[in-house]
């Protein structure tokens, strides 16, 4: 505070020395006597004053005067709060921008400040250069005229990564020999190179750091916690509790990107991590493409999901003759062991499993299928299914030379046996995978032996379809594209009968590479060695997903190293059917606030404005002198005490305006009556009450923007304790378990309804089962409304004033649409005049409006004005939301203006009369 204070004429402060002298002087002079003519003096004569202490001025009056005089002196000395120390610098100026994702949250403010700095440099005639640490230029810095740089500032965008670790050397080379002052726009987060770079800049000249005070948030990648998805939000500073809304986004069944789930992450005070666990249906979870912190514009606040978050549904089918085989001999035993941790397994008959539309179907040694089964299976594969088949004695024995469409290759009958007791050769080992194979790069364990296999017919396409083969070149795994899907055949059994492959780790890795099982969360070099990954989507610094068509593929090893930069952008990378998300924030990453050396000047982005305090101090001093006048008059008995109340009010109003503290209820009443306020009933359900509040806030916001109604923040009313008559409209959402109001509350409600109030009942269930009939909330509504004095109701007629109070509407949707909404019925004798589309309806406002469209959720907006709840789907849904807002506006208009719009039926008559 003091450091932010400066004086224009500090010498004047010397006059403060005179204050003690003034004190002494004032103290010596008592207040002048007042002369009064008074006949009663005859009775006074001879009386004696018993004390003589009022001879001098009382100390508090002295203090008051001293303060006033001190205020005057200090005021005239010209104090200025937050003075701008505009010392014109000289020499080149380097503007350094962190440019990381963390600075994206207030990038416009940053660029605006950069432009101010550049403008200042231009005024001082300093050459300047801009250096973005996330993407430093390679050649030496080139200082140019500062105003020439200004146009470039708008073109600088934040990147989705942190500055590189070896930044200090890079900068050293490009700033070789130059001296300059530095203004560093920091994102406020620590990173490894920061200290070195700061030291470097300090060595070159003065360093000033400008960083924003806005908290930085980031999301760690989502991961599995049992069968639920856990996602962790992190933040840099641990001050205070804070809630964040996390949303999961992904395509809906129609392929339109939608919000699929939402959760609230709560940071406890002092915690930098907040974990949310989402229990989602598999089908929904597999569609999630990314998680976002809603309302935070930064790549760190977005985390893309990949295969690690998908669990494929795998159907397992084995031939079963009813024989009781030992577990270890079961054809599916090893598959189960391999798949259970990473996939959702389905068992059952083929038909049942296909109904569940699995991603993968594994058939172990099933040779013959009925025609129906073949047909449905073919369709399924054609639509994108992955059929994996394992060979076995049955396959070998079956008459398989017929071209089975569900086999990738034609097989020779009988198979072959190598290295068995009855054969000559050694058991075969595997040949290294070729580059075309999806298994390329997987290390081959030495101990894999194949003793039996089925053998493919030689075929021109055989080589191309083979993705793994034995050392002698016979195919071990073959694959064929079939429509959208593919068919894979392991030429060995799924158990250890024919080979040791199912016993090895390679088996698991192969399943994973075939995208049958989900890969473990952690990538390893081996997993990715030798693969090339094509970026599908990349994130920009703001966290927006950009298409990556123009970017080249990258080797898989780089994905593990995670050295994010211009060459390895965060995003979603794919290889065949596998996808890997490279997120800005890794699973263990911690973000912490930047620590700067004491020698560095740190400033906020938004500087406090220079405020001259002279006026304030002089006003204060004058006010004190006014009080002094009153006090002196009072002391001298000159102040008429016949009206003590008015004088007290005058003094209070002058000196202590805020002392007049009213009761809480009064404040509330004032709050409710000084502006239009929408109200909602407290139901006791915290989440629902919050939705009601947010809904009415959203509606108030829309009203404020679109109409001349400018409501204040909505107020929650407790039916039992609060006065209702202040509110034009009360929104009452119905829950099954809300308490029934007491009879006093009903009296109040009835009085409210009779005197022109309006209650909007919302069952929020979309009128399932029709109005008031069988839904639990409908019954609750009936129970709640029974004691209320509600007139006869009817569904809103098409000529009701609600349909044209502000917008022309015929439907009143909320989150639900198309349900009838009930209002007070029109009088039976309402007539329709000639040529007028509306009946001449009753006066006044309908006291109740009953519906179940969950309007508050459709109106609800967060503090940034973004809708909180999805409505409908796609553009149709947005249209529905718009309509629901329009309904809200019509509703409030109707409440506030009554049947004003209905009166327009008389317009033709009026015009007629005017014309004559």
């Amino acid at each position: 505070m003091i450091s932010n204070l400066a004086f224009t004429t500090p010498l004047l402060l010397a006059a403060l020395v005179a204050l003690p002298i003034l004190w002494w002087l004032l103290r010596a002079v008592p207040p002048a006597p007042i002369k009064r003519r008074f006949p009663g003096i005859a009775l006074l004569l001879g009386l004696k004053d018993d004390e003589s202490q009022t001879d001098t001025t009382p100390w508090w009056l002295m203090l008051l005067r001293m303060l006033a005089v001190a205020g005057l002196i200090i005021g005239f000395a010209g104090p200025i709060l937050n003075p701008e120390d505009r010392q014109p610098g000289n020499g080149p100026l380097l503007i350094v921008m962190d440019g990381s994702w963390a600075s994206a949250r207030d990038w416009p403010a940053r660029t605006a400040r950069v432009e101010t700095v550049l403008a200042e440099a231009a005024r001082d005639g300093r050459p300047a250069a801009i250096l973005k640490l996330t993407d430093p230029q390679a050649d030496a810095l080139d200082f140019v005229a500062a105003d020439a740089l200004s146009p470039q500032v708008a073109g600088i965008t934040p990147d989705a990564w942190f500055p590189a670790g070896n930044l200090a050397e890079q900068i050293e080379t490009i700033t070789e020999g130059a001296t300059f002052d530095t203004v560093w726009f920091s994102d406020g987060l620590d990173h490894p190179a920061r200290t070195d770079v700061a030291a470097l800049f300090e060595a070159k000249g003065a360093l000033k750091v400008i960083q924003s005070g806005r908290p930085a948030f980031a999301l760690r990648p989502a991961r599995f916690e049992g069968s639920d998805v856990a996602i962790t939000a992190i933040r840099a500073d641990a001050d205070g509790a804070r809630e964040l809304t996390l949303t999961a986004l992904g395509p809906d069944p129609n392929g339109v990107e939608q919000e699929l789930a939402r959760a609230i992450a709560t940071f406890a005070a002092g915690e930098t991590e907040a974990e949310v666990v989402l229990a989602l249906p598999t089908e929904l979870r597999n569609r999630i493409r990314r998680f976002e912190i809603s309302g935070v514009r930064s790549a760190g606040a977005v985390t893309l999901t990949d295969d690690a978050l998908k669990r494929r549904e795998v159907g397992l089918l084995a031939s079963n003759d009813g024989q009781e085989a030992a577990d270890l001999l079961s054809p599916l035993f090893y598959l189960r062991r391999a798949l259970v941790p990473t996939a959702d397994l389905i068992d059952g008959t083929l038909e049942d499993m296909l109904l569940a539309s699995p991603d993968v179907l594994i058939m172990a040694d099933i040779a013959t299928l009925s025609e129906d089964e073949t047909a449905t299976l073919t369709d399924w594969v054609d639509e994108g299914g992955l059929l994996v088949r394992f060979a076995g004695p049955r396959t070998a024995a079956s008459d398989i030379e017929v071209n089975d469409p569900l086999m990738p290759v034609r097989l020779r009958a009988g198979g072959r046996s190598v290295g068995g007791a009855m054969s000559w050769g050694e058991p075969k080992t595997l040949r290294a995978f070729t580059r075309d194979s999806p298994f390329f790069g997987l290390p081959l364990p030495e101990d894999i032996e194949v003793v039996s296999q089925v053998v493919a017919q030689p075929d021109p396409e055989l080589a191309e379809r083979t993705i793994a083969s034995l050392a002698d070149g016979t195919p071990l795994v073959t694959r064929r594209q079939f429509g959208e899907g593919q068919i894979v055949l392991f030429h060995v059994t799924a158990n250890a009968e024919w080979s040791t492959l199912p016993l090895s780790g390679l088996f698991v890795q192969m399943l994973e590479r075939l995208a049958i099982s989900t890969r473990p969360a952690e990538l390893t070099i081996e997993d990715l060695a030798g693969t090339t990954w094509q970026p599908e989507d990349v994130l920009d610094g703001y966290g927006r997903v950009r298409s990556a068509d123009a970017l080249a593929g990258i080797p898989g090893e780089l994905l593990v190293e995670r050295d994010l930069g211009p060459d390895l952008r965060p995003g979603l990378y794919s290889n065949d059917d596998r996808r890997v998300a490279l997120n800005v924030v890794s699973a263990e990453q911690v973000i912490s606030p930047a620590a700067w050396p004491d020698t560095v000047m740190v400033e906020g982005i938004v500087t406090a404005e220079e405020t001259p305090l002279t006026g304030l101090l002089l006003t204060g001093a004058l006010a004190l002198l006014m009080i002094d006048i009153l006090a002196s008059l009072w002391l001298g008995g000159r102040l008429s005490m016949k009206k003590p109340a008015t004088i007290a009010v005058a003094i209070l109003a002058l000196a202590l305006p805020q002392m007049a503290e009213a009761q809480a209820a009064e404040e509330r009443a004032l709050e409710a009556t000084s502006e239009v306020v929408l109200a909602y009933v407290k139901t006791g359900d915290t989440a629902l009450d919050r939705v009601s509040r947010q809904g009415l806030e959203g509606l108030s916001f829309s009203l404020f923007r679109r109409t001349s109604i400018e409501p204040a923040a909505p107020i929650q009313v407790d039916l039992e304790t609060d006065e209702l008559s202040f509110y034009p409209l009360i929104y009452w959402p119905i829950t099954e378990d809300q308490p029934t109001p007491s009879s006093e509350a009903y009296t109040k409600l009835n009085r409210y309804l009779r005197t022109g109030g309006m209650i909007v009942f919302d069952t929020r269930d979309g009128n399932l089962g029709g109005f008031g009939s069988s839904s639990p909330r409908g019954r609750k509504l009936q129970a709640l409304a029974r004691p209320l004095d509600i007139p006869a109701l009817e569904p809103v007629p098409s000529d009701h004033v609600l349909t044209r109070a502000f917008y022309l509407l015929q439907d009143f949707p909320g989150r639900h649409a198309g349900n009838s909404v009930w209002v007070e019925s029109a009088p039976a004798d309402a007539e329709q005049a000639d040529g007028i589309p509306f009946r001449n309806l009753n006066d006044g406002v309908t006291p109740v409006l009953i519906g179940g469209n969950d309007w508050a959720s459709a109106w609800a907006r967060d503090e940034n004005g973004r809708p909180l709840f999805p409505v409908g789907r796609g553009f149709g849904g947005e249209r529905q939301r718009e309509m629901s807002v329009r309904f809200g506006i019509n509703l409030v208009m109707h409440v506030l203006t009554g049947n004003y719009k209905s009166d327009q039926v008389h317009v033709p008559a009026l015009l007629d009369r005017l014309g004559n």
């Binding site: 006597p33 002369k35 006949p39 003096i41 005859a42 009022t54």
Partner: protein
């Protein structure tokens, strides 16, 4: 040219006109006040010497024959005596304090004590005039008479400029024996002349009423702080550093003064009223009128 307005003819005329203009106003105010008192309450209501018919009563033995009203008696066999209402005229003398102390008022919203005293006196005169009594002003030795001319005369005397002394003393020598008297003053002056006047008046068979007229400020003493008090003429000064501290002592002395006046009245058979200028004059008027009436 002599600029003393008291001698300067123009100044004299100016003052005369000012007073003359105020005089009908005073009279009008008094008439107005008196008009609120309904007649019918004022008659003697007893038979006696007078001109007005009072009642016929049956003659009883012992009535002189000439008192029998023959016209009434001729209508029947009984004899009636015609009685007249008793109409002994009273003399009521007023002393209205015209000292400077009576020119005081504590606020703009109420009249001076002197004004209130004059209005009360004149209104009483109007009522007495209507009741056929005689009245006079003891200040100037005006002999008691009746009639509109006497009213005008008294009003003129009341409008005369105030005396130059701070406090007034009642003049009891001019009171006719057996008459009634009304003294209107604040009685802030020396109490001895008052008691002397009262005893002397009682000696001459004069009974009457003391009306002490006080300003509310004199009753409440709402002063504080360093103050110099002066009499209305400015001849006497009293300085205090903290007037508020003197309040209790002042109020006690005021109460003593009132008690002294009441004792005096009790001893002499007079009646005492303390009237404040912030209350309406009518109440005091009614009280005084009834007091005069009952004293008979």
């Amino acid at each position: 040219m002599n600029q003393d307005p008291a001698i300067n003819p123009a100044g004299l005329r100016h003052r005369a006109e000012a007073h003359a203009s105020a005089f009908p106003a005073l009279l009008a105010e008094a008439e107005h006040l008196a008009a609120t008192v309904l007649l019918g309450d004022h008659g003697r209501r007893r038979s006696g010497m007078g001109d007005e018919f009072w009642q016929y009563r049956p003659a009883v033995s012992g009535d002189p024959q000439r008192t029998i009203d023959w016209r009434r008696s001729a209508r029947g066999d009984e004899q009636f005596v015609r009685q007249k209402e008793w109409q002994a005229a009273q003399s009521v003398m007023f002393w209205v304090d015209d000292a400077l102390s009576m020119t005081f008022t504590g606020g703009d919203d109420r009249p001076t004590k002197g004004h209130r005293a004059r209005v009360l006196a004149l209104a009483l005169c109007v009522l007495l005039n209507r009741g056929g009594e005689r009245f006079g002003l003891a200040n100037r030795g005006t002999p008691p008479r009746r009639g509109e001319a006497q009213l005008s005369r008294i009003a003129g005397h009341l409008m005369a400029p105030a005396g130059d002394s701070d406090y007034g003393t009642p003049n009891a020598r001019v009171l006719p024996a057996g008459s009634r008297a009304v003294f209107l003053s604040d009685f802030f002056g020396d109490p001895d002349p008052v008691s002397e006047a009262l005893t002397r008046a009682t000696d001459r068979g004069v009974k009457g009423t003391l009306i002490q007229i006080l300003d509310p400020d004199e009753e409440a003493f709402p002063y504080d702080g360093r103050t110099v008090f002066e009499t209305m003429s400015g001849n006497t000064r009293f300085e205090t550093l903290k007037a508020g501290n003197l309040k209790d002592a002042y109020l006690k002395r005021l109460a003593d003064r009132k008690a002294h006046l009441q004792d005096l009245c009790r001893a002499t058979g007079w009646r005492y009223l303390c009237h404040h200028t912030d209350t309406g004059a009518l109440k005091a008027l009614m009280w005084a009128y009834r007091a005069l009436d009952h004293a008979q």
